[in-house]
């Protein structure tokens, strides 16, 4: 049996996860929210954003509501943002003021999104890749494959950034995966 596209996606996400969780392990609130420059994203903002982006893509592909909303995360995270906000277009002031209540809340939300993604991938077959789903913005539609690929690219790029920041703050050799 040959490797399906959903297998590939799962492998990529699985491979990515140790970098993300490794970068959050044992981190204190100060480092979690630290910005290396006045307008740069913190680890907290990046992990929240990448999870929200994945939640949004998977919700559109699976035709389900966001975990962010159904799982009570709006209240638990208490960010005071529009429930559909995923961080795009945040101003430098918003980025600097961004605070999550705890690293465990952030990890729990990431894991809830990951699990919803896993359920979606279990149900998906490669024929679904051609199916039209809502575009990220506007009223149009795009093939599901496009949103799947965007999910990966965004998640992996931001994970690389999170890992880089932990290395910048913590020093060389922090990651053992």
């Amino acid at each position: 049996m040959s490797t399906s596209v959903s297998d590939f996606v799962r492998q990529l996400l699985d491979r990515n996860e140790p970098y993300l969780l490794g970068a959050l392990e044992g981190i204190d609130p100060d480092m979690l929210h630290r910005q290396p420059g006045p307008e740069s994203n913190s680890i907290a903002w990046l992990v929240w954003h990448l999870s929200r982006v994945q939640d949004n893509h998977v919700s559109a592909m699976a035709g389900r509501d966001h975990v962010w909303i159904t799982g009570g995360w709006v209240e638990r995270m208490g960010l005071g943002l529009d429930p559909m906000d995923r961080g795009r277009g945040h101003t430098p002031e918003q980025i600097a003021a961004f605070r999550v209540p705890s690293v465990s809340a952030l990890m729990d939300y990431y894991e809830a999104v990951r699990d919803a993604t896993g359920t979606f991938l279990d149900e998906m077959d490669d024929a679904a890749l051609e199916r039209q789903v809502p575009a990220v913005s506007g009223d149009g539609t795009v093939p599901l494959a496009q949103r799947l690929e965007m999910t990966l690219t965004d998640g992996l790029q931001h994970t690389g950034q999170v890992a880089y920041l932990r290395g910048l703050f913590e020093g060389r050799g922090w990651l053992a995966v």
């Binding site: 049996m1 040959s2 490797t3 399906s4 596209v5 297998d7 590939f8 996606v9 492998q11 990529l12 491979r15 990515n16 970098y19 290396p36 420059g37 307008e39 740069s40 994203n41 430098p92 490669d126 890749l129 051609e130 494959a145 690929e149 990966l152 690219t153 992996l156 790029q157 931001h158 994970t159 690389g160 950034q161 890992a163 880089y164 920041l165 290395g167 910048l168 020093g171 060389r172």
Partner: protein, 174 residues
């Protein structure tokens, strides 16, 4: 769409991200590090491109662009297949390049070879087990491709972050 097409699309995304992040950036900024022991944009772009060249051409059974196309000369390095693994911080910080354009041209050359190879890959090929007894389980072609996308996409994200750190908010919209 098949697995190899997803990988090719992923490689295109990486290349697009590098073009946006690196075009027009000075050598000084390319080689700047934000802290001790961290990697510069130049080193990251060189390293991720070398990883792609090494991994994909080994799968294809073809020589590496690095030596065959003489890219090592453009970087003033030996032709041997070094892609930066295990470099000490001093070596990373001493890494330099001629220009952003050389980093991008190197990447485009490697991408062209990678895509020529991926166009020949059938779904069945992805399950071929590689003769690499140092790994348990031994990786398949598909696993190796996944690791290239993962490595390269993470590093492309790091380069974009550094561009923003040095260049300021909103750099990607200018």
């Amino acid at each position: 769409m098949e697995g190899a097409a997803l990988i090719a699309q992923g490689l295109d995304r990486i290349a697009g991200s590098l073009e946006r992040s690196l075009t027009g950036v000075s050598v000084d900024e390319l080689c700047r590090v934000p802290g001790e022991g961290t990697n510069s944009m130049a080193w990251l772009a060189w390293h991720l491109t070398r990883v792609q060249d090494d991994h994909l051409m080994n799968l294809a059974g073809r020589p590496l662009a690095w030596a065959e196309e003489g890219w090592h000369e453009r970087f003033g390095m030996p032709a041997e297949n070094d892609f930066g693994m295990g470099w000490p911080p001093e070596q990373v910080q001493a890494f330099t390049c001629e220009s952003a354009e050389v980093l991008l041209a190197h990447h485009r050359a490697v991408l062209a070879r990678s895509k020529a190879y991926l166009a020949t890959v059938t779904p069945g090929d992805l399950d071929r087990v590689l003769d690499e007894p140092q790994w348990d389980p031994r990786p398949t072609v598909g696993v190796r491709l996944v690791s290239v996308i993962s490595d390269n996409t993470q590093h492309a994200g790091q380069i974009a972050y550094l561009r923003g750190l040095f260049g300021g908010y909103g750099w990607q919209r200018s």
